[in-house]
């Protein structure tokens, strides 16, 4: 039977004797404090990176497959140009549509290297043209106005949808209905995108575009904005193709087929890159396992060091308190009672170390958050785990001293 009164009594004894040697108790738990603190900070950094990667990947869409144009080195370019326009083309899209099952949607994006006339100081808006399906495929949401429709394309309307930062920078001239000058043309703003919370700038293939700083034009706008592009024969060069697959379970199969179609169509010239967010997701899970292993290593080493400190101090405590042990044995304490008393004391010590370590860790995370661009995430697990582990450290490293205390002969102990 668990007797609360007894537990309270043991805790009280432990607290009284720990506070009798306050400075020493404090010094002995420093190792545990720093161990726990390190664990909290590392978990926060790791969770932050994981959350950021997940967000980026999820923004890309787990049912999507991206095909991006890649610039070839100069010598290879010459050779490739002879056969077909470089990079991903609308011809690729047509072949994927006929050759790959499970395709539910597709969107094409072309980056247009023109400048916008306006008061853009801090930002350089990226101008792209895209199909109306782009909004659905990557789940773009509007805060006002509308996205493109088929008639914007067929009618060659000069309309645009702008990102939130662009909207802010334009000030009063940024609302729906206003006109925006791009190159030599005026475009009417028909929609404004919702603000997207994008923490870190591009980090390789994983990153989503910064929609806040984009100006979207209807597909085909590039042909009259930049009259030099385009040789209709094998389709135009696209910056990016996004293929939407009907369900997540079909993505691996579709990804394989698309890679084959692309390889065939491009005659093995690597002027494109296929990026499957789902695969990135799986890769990031693997990276996480590695990270957890590292974390486990650091935690074990620091708690080992902290634990040895505790063992040391508990051994000293036991030999200083032989007389107390003798008195307790004389009034009827069994060996197990002495064992429990010293185990309680050791785990209370490390538990306190854990609490202080968590406090210090949270402060460190808070400061890091202010001082660095990293995303830091504190999970419940990051707090509970160190508490449990630090208490267990106390029990583990306290057991030898406690066992020694329990084994003392009552008479010898009473002699002090």
């Amino acid at each position: 039977m668990v007797n609360l009164f007894k537990i309270a009594s043991y805790l009280k004894i432990s607290l009284l004797s720990l506070s009798a040697g306050r400075l020493r108790s404090f010094l002995s738990i420093i190792g545990v404090v720093f161990g726990v603190m390190a664990v909290i900070v590392i978990i926060a950094v790791g969770e932050g990176a994981k959350a950021e990667a997940l967000r980026q990947i999820e923004k890309l869409g787990t049912t999507n497959i991206y095909i991006k144009s890649v610039e070839l080195a100069e010598d290879k370019k010459q050779h490739a140009m002879r056969m077909r326009p470089p990079g991903v083309t609308s011809d690729d899209l047509a072949r994927i549509r006929t050759g790959c099952p499970h395709v539910s949607a597709a969107a094409a994006v072309v980056e247009i290297p023109v400048s916008v006339i306006g008061a853009f100081k801090e930002i350089t808006p990226q101008i792209v043209s895209c199909t109306p399906s782009y909004a659905d495929v990557i789940d773009l949401r509007l805060q006002s106005g509308r996205f493109f429709t088929g008639s914007d394309i067929t009618g060659h309307y000069q309309v645009c949808v702008i990102g939130d930062h662009v909207y802010e920078k334009l000030g009063s001239g940024g609302g729906v209905g206003n006109r925006l000058r791009i190159g030599d043309h005026l475009f009417k703003i028909v929609g404004v995108l919702e603000r997207y919370d994008i923490k870190s700038p591009k980090t390789g293939a994983v990153s989503a575009r910064n929609y806040n700083e984009m100006i979207l034009l209807p597909e085909g706008s590039e042909t009259w904005l930049l009259p030099s592009t385009g040789s209709e024969s094998a389709g135009n060069t696209l910056s990016e193709l996004i293929i939407g697959i009907d369900t997540v379970s079909h993505v691996p199969e579709a990804s394989g087929i698309i890679k084959k179609i692309m390889a065939m169509n491009h005659k093995n010239i690597a002027d494109y890159q296929v990026v499957t967010p789902l695969e990135l997701l799986q890769q990031s899970k693997k990276t996480n396992e590695l990270f957890n292993l590292l974390l486990f290593g650091i935690a074990s080493v620091s708690l080992l060091v902290g634990g040895i400190g505790i063992m040391n101090i508990m051994l000293a405590t036991v030999s200083e308190r032989r007389r107390e042990i003798g008195i307790r044995r004389a009034v009827g304490a069994k060996q197990k009672h002495i064992l429990v008393q010293f185990l309680t004391e050791a785990s209370l010590l490390t538990f306190t170390g854990g609490i202080i370590g968590i406090g210090a860790g949270l402060i460190a995370v808070f400061v890091l958050k202010l001082a660095s661009p990293w995303e830091l995430v504190i999970t419940a697990q990051a707090i509970i785990l160190p508490l449990i582990i630090s208490s267990l450290t106390g029990i583990f490293f306290g057991s030898f001293p406690a066992w020694k205390a329990a084994q003392l002969d009552p008479i010898q102990a009473l002699r002090g």
Partner: protein
């Protein structure tokens, strides 16, 4: 006739240090009845404390038998001896043996940690014991704030708090002046008058005269 409380027969204790052995008790035989007050005397090193520790189940005899309430406990386990100490004996030592970081109340209530009692019972019995030794106004004081006589009163309160059958006192007045010593002996005598058996170790005849029966150890035997 009922069995005596304690029955010791032909008990001996030999300490072995390396290859030297020292026979301290060489076959002692005696009985202690309920309510007895026995004083054990003898010169220093004669084995008085050794005998008292064996009686109190803190130590084991080398040979001989020890029956408590008619039960032979010579071969009881460590746990068994702990239980006997908890339920039958109360100890009072020459050097008081209080726990320095606990106050009077916590020192006196300490034996209850190793027994099953409700919080209320513990409180009532502890307060009663402190009252019995006249320290009700010092409950929250720590040992280092008490005089020698007061510390010994606390030790007596701790010894009697669970109403033991036998109180074992090893030179309880040894560290006190004669006036305070007399007060402590009065307290112990009162306890004995109310039915608790008392075994007192002393080398002072004045102190021993409080007892109903005196025995002297010499060369490992009673003379």
């Amino acid at each position: 006739m009922p069995a005596p409380l304690i029955e010791i027969s032909n008990l001996s204790k030999t300490y072995t240090l390396g290859n030297e052995s020292l026979a301290v008790l060489k076959g002692v035989t005696f009985c202690v009845g309920q309510g007895d007050f026995l004083a054990v005397m003898g010169p220093s090193g004669s084995g008085k404390s050794t005998l008292l520790n064996i009686l109190g189940c803190l130590d084991r005899p080398t040979s001989g038998s020890y029956s408590l309430n008619g039960v032979n406990i010579s071969h009881a386990s460590d746990n068994g001896l702990s239980e006997i100490r908890a339920s039958v004996f109360g100890f009072v030592f020459q050097s008081f043996n209080l726990i320095s970081n606990l106050n009077v109340y916590d020192n006196v209530s300490m034996p209850f940690l190793y027994a099953e009692n409700s919080k209320k019972t513990v409180y009532e019995k502890t307060m009663r014991a402190i009252e019995d030794v006249g320290l009700s106004d010092r409950i929250h004081h720590n040992p280092d704030e008490l005089s020698g006589g007061e510390m010994q009163r606390v030790a007596i309160a701790r010894a009697l708090v669970r109403h033991p059958k036998i109180i074992l006192a090893d030179e309880p007045t040894g560290n006190l002046d004669s006036g305070t010593g007399t007060a402590i002996m009065k307290l112990l005598k009162d306890l004995n008058n109310s039915g608790t058996s008392l075994i007192l170790v002393t080398h002072d005849t004045q102190t021993a005269s409080w007892a109903g029966k005196m025995m002297t150890l010499k060369d490992g035997k009673f003379v």
